[in-house]
């Protein structure tokens, strides 16, 4: 599914190197978690994979099902099946949530050569997905993320994921800013999407989220590299002892 090989990335505007050789392979249907201290490059990895401006790849590669991601525009990566759930979902005044979702879904279908959905078909699809995330008609009508609470924004991200049905989902600190109940709701939304053909890369600071979204593999990232890989027990180790031990062990 996702193959990242020796990925080196620096900021475009300054000489700051953020990723210093990331190697990562996520197989189909797998859930991988990336944990790591602040500034280790976790969010940068998610942005580089999804095509945000401002980063320069100096070495290495990243591909999705054998297709080079790094040469593609963000919209083409999305159409190829990549999805990033934002740490800070963007508020877009004046653009209705429903309009946005439908434009996105149909643009992806169009680029894959699939027929576009009519307004009625689409409404039916969204309603069926929205109910379990406790997103009501009112939220769908409002401008994208405007006036949404932290929990509503994250649920809206998961709704987009459910509607767009990507094969590779990256969740960038989806648990940040959520209370326990909201986190559960979001995790249930993610779990409902788990399937053989769909993989997840869950970026988080805390083991908490991984109680609800059970990972197959846990990676620890520090200073732009993945320094340790293990099973779910690695997350527990971080929870109990912090990163200091692991960092010392690797150094």
């Amino acid at each position: 599914m996702l193959n990242i090989n020796n990925l080196h990335v620096k900021l475009e505007e300054e000489d700051k190197i953020i990723l210093k050789g990331v190697n990562l392979t996520v197989g189909a249907g797998e859930v991988h978690a990336i944990m790591g201290p602040n500034g280790s490059g976790k969010s940068t990895l998610s942005y580089v994979l999804s095509g945000r401006d401002g980063y320069e790849v100096t070495d290495g590669s990243a591909s999705l099902d054998g297709v080079d991601l790094l040469e593609m525009e963000p919209e083409d990566r999305a159409a190829a099946g990549l999805f990033l759930a934002f740490q800070y979902p963007v508020e877009i005044p004046g653009v209705g949530n429903m309009t946005f979702l439908r434009t996105a879904a149909n643009a992806q279908r169009k680029s894959r050569g699939e027929p576009e959905l009519s307004a009625a078909e689409f409404l039916k699809l969204v309603r069926s997905k929205a109910a379990s995330l406790q997103i009501d008609a009112e939220m769908l009508k409002r401008p994208v993320n405007v006036g949404f609470s932290g929990g509503e924004k994250k649920r809206n991200e998961i709704l987009q994921m459910a509607v767009l049905e990507p094969k590779m989902c990256i969740l960038d600190e989806t648990d940040s800013g959520l209370d326990v109940d909201a986190m559960k709701l979001v995790a249930e939304g993610v779990n409902a999407l788990r399937s053989e053909g769909r993989s997840f890369l869950v970026i988080t600071h805390y083991q908490r989220l991984l109680d609800h979204i059970k990972p197959d593999v846990v990676h620890i990232m520090a200073d732009g590299r993945i320094i340790k890989t293990g099973g779910p027990e690695l997350a527990l180790e971080v929870e109990n002892n912090g990163y200091a031990d692991i960092l010392a062990e690797v150094a």
Partner: protein, 423 residues
């Protein structure tokens, strides 16, 4: 102070360029008065404070040929009076005036000798609107316009559509409309299309106590057209005034509005959306005077500019002494789609009452990259994502339109324009 010679000469040249039409005695008198006003104030020149950002030279010389872009007619309402003008000349054969007890219509070229209500207004609101800022193109219009409509509304009238059709490549048209909305009466005035290669239009509208006037116009999409428009409005107590202008393209468009709130609890909303690509100069010059208590006014103007297009906004709120509890709002915003375009704004507040709320803002910026990334990361192609954001930017102005169906028509027009002007 004596007027500079070039301004005096310019006024004489303008008056000589357009022959005085001959009509009813009251009309000829008003025209003569306006000609004298123009001679006194002089022709506009680029050094004048109010013409600094919009050089008027193209309005004063000869008219070049302007190609016409065919566009589907807007505001196709079955139950509306439709007055058709071809190159600024009324075409009775193509027009439809319905039975409507709430409304009287005459054309200016056939105005009665004893149409007192019109005689009382023609040139009167324009003349009052010449102070403190002279508006020479409006005085010229009052002096020389031979075409237009006189509409008196006594009840809930059917909408009036002014439909403009272009046939001539270089017609130079002048239209002057006078509208009186009597107490408690209601009128919606819709204007559609490019009047002529060069056009100068004036609307004088008297909105009496408790009356409602809605005005929506689409100025067409011919690139080369030159246009000056003026709205002079006088609002009575508890009256409602709304005006919205959509401008796509246009080498020069200067839309002026002079609105005076003379009765308590009146409200005036004026808004506009303008989009331009390349050789485009669009200027909204607004002057709202609060001269009564508890009145409300709103100005919402948005412009989207690319490839060296220019946008100008000069908006003023004047709150006179005694106009307590005034609520005035003004926003003007330019969205620049590249580094070559310009948006110039001159917001002004002048307040002589001490218990008022007046706010104004002006911004100029580019499309937000973070929002663009969010949209594209969901699969929306960049061009489409940008269009969505541009339409969202314009929507605060469109939302000023009361009628949702009409607002959606204008959104579609803007969407079409954006699609044609990508890349």
């Amino acid at each position: 102070m004596a007027l500079a010679a070039h301004k005096t000469e310019g006024a004489a040249l303008l008056l000589a360029r357009y022959p005085a039409p001959n009509g009813a005695a009251w009309l000829n008198r008003a025209r003569n008065d306006a000609a004298a006003r123009l001679a006194d104030m002089g022709a506009p020149f680029g050094r004048d404070e109010y013409w600094r950002y919009t050089p008027p030279a193209a309005l004063l010389g000869d008219v070049a040929d302007v190609a016409h872009v065919a566009d589907e007619a807007l505001f196709n309402a079955a139950d509306a009076h439709e007055l058709v003008f071809v190159d600024g000349v009324f075409d009775a054969a193509q027009s439809t005036i319905l039975d409507d007890v709430a409304l009287q219509i005459q054309t200016l070229d056939a105005a009665d000798a004893d149409i007192h209500w019109a005689a009382d207004l023609y040139g009167a609101l324009e003349s009052a609107g010449q102070n403190p800022v002279p508006r020479p193109m409006a005085a010229l219009n009052t002096a020389r316009a031979g075409q237009g409509v006189l509409v008196r509304v006594m009840g809930a009238a059917k909408p009036v559509v002014l439909r403009h059709i272009r046939k001539s490549a270089n017609a130079d048209a002048m239209l002057h409309h006078v509208i009186k909305v009597e107490a408690k009466a209601k009128l919606t005035l819709l204007e559609d299309g490019v009047v002529a290669a060069r056009a100068n239009t004036v609307i004088e509208v008297d909105v009496a106590d408790n009356a409602t006037f809605d005005h929506i116009r689409n100025q067409g999409r011919d690139h080369g057209r030159l246009l000056t428009t003026h709205i002079f409005a006088r609002l009575g107590a508890e009256s409602r005034f709304k005006s919205f202008t959509l401008s796509l393209n246009g080498r020069l468009s200067r839309n002026e509005a002079v609105i005076t709130l003379t009765g308590d609890n009146a409200s005036a909303h004026i808004a506009g959306a303008a989009v331009g690509d390349g050789d485009f100069l669009h200027d909204d010059t607004i002057f709202i005077t609060h001269d009564a208590e508890h009145c409300e006014s709103r100005q919402v103007f948005k412009k989207v500019l690319r490839n060296g297009a220019n946008g100008v906004f000069q908006g003023k709120i004047l709150v006179k002494q005694g106009a307590q509890k005034t609520d005035g709002y003004q926003i003007s915003q330019g969205l620049l789609l590249d580094d070559d375009s310009n948006f110039l704004a001159k917001p002004e507040l002048e307040i002589y009452a001490d218990d008022v709320i007046c706010s104004h803002g002006s911004t100029c910026g580019s499309v937000d990259e973070t929002s663009l990334f969010y949209l594209t990361s969901r699969g929306v192609p960049r061009a489409e994502a940008q269009d969505l954001l541009v339409l969202a930017f314009l929507d605060e102005a469109i939302a000023e339109i009361r009628d949702d169906v009409v607002a959606d028509m204008l959104r579609n027009r803007l969407g079409g324009w954006l699609e044609r002007h990508r890349g």
